[in-house]
C-alpha cells in the first residue's frame, strides 16, 4: 500500500471507531459532544504506557479502560442533565480535558507529545473489526433493544420496566471506551499528539459521521464515516471548496434524509429487489 493510501486508511479507521463512540449514546437519544475529550484520554494514557515500555496491545487496552472509567465517572452525574444540558456538559468536559493536557508538562504541554511505538494499518484494521463486532453483538442483545426503546420513547420504555438511566449510563460509558480506542489508535499510528487536535471540531465530525450514516442500524456510522471521509479526499483537487461542499451535503442530507443514509427501510427495499432476480 502506498504511503498516501495507508495514511487515508488509518484516518478512516480512526474515524469509524470515533463514529461508533458517538453512535452509542446517540442510539439512546443522548448527544455527546465530548468525544474529543475521551479520545484524548485514551490517546495520552496509551501513549504514556507504551513509552514506558508496555506492549502495544496492553497500552491500547489500558487507554480504552481509562476513557471508559472517565466516561462512567462523567456520565453518572452528567446524565442527571438531559438533552441540551448533557450536550453542553460533555462539551465542557472535553474542553477541560484538552485545556488540562495543554498545561500538563509531563506530556509535553503545548509543544506536543512524541509516541515511540508505531502501529501499522493491519492491526488497526483488526482492532476496528473487534469494535464493529462488539457493536454488532450489543445491538443484537436485549441491551440493544432497550437502547432503541429509550431513543424512541424514554417515558414509554420506563413504563415497560426498562431502567432508562442505567441504559443511558451504559451507552455513554461504552461509547467513551470506543473513543479511547480511537484515540489510542490515532496516537500509535501518527506517533505525535497535540492537545489542540482534540477540539470541538473532532467531536463534531464524529457526531456527523454517526448521524449522517443513520442511527437505525448499527451499520449506519460505518457507512457515514466511510462516505464522509473518502468523499472529501476524492474532492481534494478542489481544495477549499470541498469543505463548502461538505457543509452543503450535511444541510441537504438532513433535509432530505433526516434519518441518515442507511435506514431500515432502505435495507428492506434492497433485499426486496434482489429476490426476484
Amino acid at each position: 500500500m502506498s504511503g498516501y493510501a495507508s495514511q487515508i486508511a488509518a484516518i478512516l479507521i480512526v474515524n469509524i471507531v470515533a463514529a461508533y463512540s458517538a453512535y452509542m449514546p446517540l442510539a439512546c437519544g443522548q448527544l455527546n459532544l465530548g468525544i474529543a475529550g475521551f479520545m484524548a484520554i485514551g490517546a495520552y494514557t496509551s501513549a504514556v504506557l507504551s513509552n514506558h515500555g508496555f506492549a502495544l496491545e496492553v497500552s491500547i487496552l489500558c487507554g480504552a479502560c481509562a476513557s471508559t472509567i472517565a466516561g462512567f465517572a462523567v456520565s453518572l452525574p452528567v446524565l442527571r442533565a438531559r438533552g441540551i444540558y448533557l450536550t453542553i456538559a460533555t462539551l465542557a468536559f472535553s474542553e477541560v480535558v484538552a485545556a488540562v493536557l495543554l498545561n500538563l508538562h509531563v506530556v509535553g504541554a503545548a509543544s506536543g507529545f512524541v509516541v515511540a511505538d508505531h502501529m501499522s494499518v493491519v492491526p488497526m484494521f483488526v482492532t476496528m473489526l473487534i469494535v464493529l463486532a462488539v457493536v454488532g453483538w450489543l445491538s443484537s442483545t436485549r441491551f440493544g433493544l432497550c437502547m432503541t426503546a429509550v431513543r424512541n420513547d424514554g417515558r414509554g420504555a420506563a413504563v415497560f420496566g426498562v431502567k432508562v438511566r442505567r441504559v443511558e449510563v451504559a451507552a455513554l460509558t461504552i461509547g467513551a471506551g470506543f473513543a479511547g480506542v480511537a484515540g489510542a489508535l490515532y496516537a500509535h499510528h501518527f506517533n505525535y499528539l497535540e492537545a489542540q487536535h482534540f477540539n470541538v471540531l473532532l467531536s463534531t465530525y464524529a457526531l456527523l459521521y454517526a448521524l449522517l450514516g443513520g442511527l437505525q442500524t448499527p451499520f449506519g456510522p460505518l457507512i457515514g464515516a466511510v462516505v464522509f471521509t473518502l468523499v472529501p479526499e476524492i474532492l481534494r483537487s478542489t481544495d477549499q471548496w470541498r469543505y463548502v461542499g461538505f457543509g452543503i451535503c450535511i444541510i441537504l442530507l438532513m433535509l432530505l434524509r433526516p434519518e441518515g443514509l442507511l435506514t431500515k427501510r432502505l435495507i428492506h427495499e434492497l433485499r426486496f429487489r434482489r429476490r426476484p432476480a
Binding site: R80, F93, N103, I251, L255
Partner: protein, 291 residues
C-alpha cells in the same frame, strides 16, 4: 492594575453577552442549540471589515453586515426549523453545524485563513478615567451591547412578537391553535438572534481591531458558558453570566497564565451544569420540564 483588568473584562463581557443572548433566545424558545451563531458572529465581523476596506463609512459597513447576517439567519431558519418540523431534535443541531462549516470555509476562500486587521476609523483611541485606561471603541461597543440587550428585553416582554415567542416557548402547537403565526414569530426570533450575533462580530472587530474566519468558535464557547452560568433562556442572566465569564477570563490571563483560561472557564461551566444547572437567574420549573 486590578481596576484596569476588571474594566477590560467588563468591556469584553458586552460582546460575550450579545452572543450569549443570541444562544439563549433559541434555547429558551425552541430548546435548540444553534451552532450557526458563531458563523453569524464571524460574518458580522468579516463583512463589515470587507466593506470598510472598500471605503464605505463605518455606519454603512455595519448596516450592510447586519443585512447580510439577518438574511443568512433567515435562510438558516428555513433549514433548521421550518422545513424540519416534527423530526428528531438532533437534526436542526446538525444542520446548523453544516451552516457553520459552510460559512467558515466560504470566508477562508474569499479572505484567506489569516487574521485580517480591522480598518476601524476610530483605531485604538482611548481616554484615562480615574487612572484606568479605557479604549473608546470598546466603551462604545459596550454601550451599544447594553442598549441592544435592553431593547431585546422590551421586544420579548412588551411587543406582540415577544408575546408570541413566550407562548411558543410554552408549546408551539397550542400557540399555533390560539392564533399565533408560529412561522413568522420564529422567523422574527431568528432575525433577532442573527442581528445580535452579527452586531457582536462587528463590535468585536471595532474593539479588538482584528477579524478572522475562526473568530466565532472561541467567543461562542464563552457565550454558551455565559448563558449556562446566567441561566438558560434568561435575558439578564446572559448579561450577568457574560460579564462574570469575561472578568474571570481577563483576571486569569493577567494573574495566572493565558493557558489556564480554558481550564478555569470550562471547569466552572462543567461544575455549574452538574451542581446548579439552572444557573444564577434561571427558572427552576422550566429546567425540570426540559430535563
Amino acid at each position: 492594575m486590578l481596576a484596569q483588568q476588571v474594566v477590560n473584562g467588563l468591556l469584553l463581557g458586552g460582546i460575550y453577552a450579545l452572543v450569549a443572548l443570541a444562544f439563549s433566545l433559541t434555547i429558551g424558545i425552541l430548546n435548540f442549540l444553534n451552532f450557526s451563531i458563531p458563523a453569524l458572529f464571524m460574518l458580522g465581523g468579516v463583512v463589515s471589515c470587507a466593506m470598510l476596506a472598500k471605503g464605505y463609512s463605518i455606519a454603512v459597513s455595519i448596516a450592510i453586515a447586519l443585512v447580510v447576517t439577518g438574511a443568512v439567519s433567515l435562510v438558516i431558519e428555513r433549514f433548521t426549523f421550518r422545513w424540519l418540523k416534527n423530526v428528531d431534535s438532533h437534526i436542526p443541531l446538525v444542520s446548523s453545524l453544516g451552516f457553520l462549516i459552510l460559512f467558515e470555509n466560504l470566508v477562508v476562500i474569499y479572505f484567506g485563513s489569516d487574521a485580517v486587521g480591522y480598518p476601524s476609523p476610530f483605531g485604538g483611541a482611548s481616554i484615562r478615567l480615574a487612572g484606568v485606561l479605557v479604549s473608546l471603541p470598546q466603551l462604545a461597543s459596550f454601550a451599544i451591547s447594553l442598549l441592544l440587550i435592553v431593547g431585546c428585553y422590551f421586544v420579548v416582554t412588551r411587543t406582540k412578537l415577544g408575546r408570541g415567542l413566550r407562548s411558543i416557548a410554552e408549546s408551539p402547537d397550542i400557540s399555533g391553535m390560539l392564533g399565533v403565526d408560529v412561522g413568522r414569530t420564529v422567523s422574527g426570533m431568528y432575525l433577532i438572534s442573527g442581528l445580535l450575533a452579527g452586531m457582536g462580530g462587528a463590535l468585536f472587530g471595532i474593539s479588538y481591531l482584528q477579524v478572522s474566519w475562526d473568530m466565532g468558535s472561541e467567543v461562542a464557547l464563552k457565550g454558551i458558558s455565559a448563558m449556562v452560568l446566567g441561566g438558560m433562556g434568561n435575558i439578564w442572566g446572559a448579561l450577568l453570566g457574560a460579564l462574570i465569564i469575561a472578568i474571570v477570563e481577563v483576571l486569569t490571563i493577567s494573574y495566572v497564565s493565558s493557558e489556564a483560561v480554558n481550564v478555569i472557564v470550562y471547569g466552572v461551566l462543567l461544575g455549574l451544569i452538574l451542581v446548579m444547572p439552572n444557573g444564577l437567574l434561571g427558572d427552576r420549573a422550566v429546567l425540570i420540564e426540559r430535563m
